[in-house]
């Protein structure tokens, strides 16, 4: 928007800051948007792990001990809840965002959703394959 100096002031009712506490769906919306914080946290922690990895064996061991503290595990359980909320809400948006036509017919939402869940399952298996050692 251009910032003209003598723009007339519109009459607008001010929206209160906590407007989203008025209704359950609004709270749900804000919580969904805030799951992006869990996503950013996970990304940042991965960067920290790379830094620690480069900093030597001692730093790596110290960081592993830090991650094993009950506080850290409890906190990361909370982060996991946020990430799962992100995943579920994201996958359930997919049928609304995606219209797939096959042979002139629209693929039903349930099929698109099922496809995305299969993708999640495959990605999870891939992560386990890469990261879990016997």
């Amino acid at each position: 928007m251009s910032r003209r100096r003598f723009h007339p002031r519109w009459f607008r009712r001010r929206t209160p800051i906590f407007w989203w506490l008025e209704k359950g769906v609004y709270v749900h919306f804000i919580v969904r948007e805030l799951t992006s914080l869990a996503v950013a946290y996970a990304a940042a922690l991965l960067v920290v792990q790379v830094a620690v990895l480069g900093a030597g064996a001692e730093a790596h061991a110290r960081f592993a001990a830090l991650l094993a503290s009950p506080w850290a595990v409890g906190w990361h359980a909370l982060v996991l809840v946020g990430l799962l909320y992100h995943t579920l809400t994201w996958l359930h948006l997919a049928p609304k965002a995606l219209v797939v036509k096959l042979g002139g017919h629209r693929v039903p939402d349930a099929a698109i959703l099922a496809g995305h869940y299969l993708g999640w399952l495959a990605a999870t298996a891939l992560v386990a394959l890469v990261l879990v050692r016997s």
């Binding site: 990304a43 940042a44 792990q49």
Partner: protein
Amino acid sequence: MGRPTEPFFWTLFSAGGMLAALVLPAVCFVLWIAAPLGWLATPDRAGWLALLAPPLARLALLALVALSLFHWAHRFRYTLYDGLQLHHLYGLIATVCYGGAATVTLVAAYLLLRLG
């Protein structure tokens, strides 16, 4: 609104949202819950270095980090505008969010390059 950068950031938001949705819950559970509790064994330091030795593996990790961060930047930015009614801070919030994501991405790229 006709902002020419909008589709670009929306694409990053969308790609990051999908990648984060598919990959991050498993990463969080394995690395930060199951491994510290001793439920699962994860690579030791040498294992991690071997895992991140191929350039393609480093690139994949960097992509995961960058797209997740830009997903956050885009979504959090609009949460601040709409949730807290901060429309008057448009430029500042956009700069802090995208700038933050870009900075951490650059740091990650540097650290991954330096990993030897």
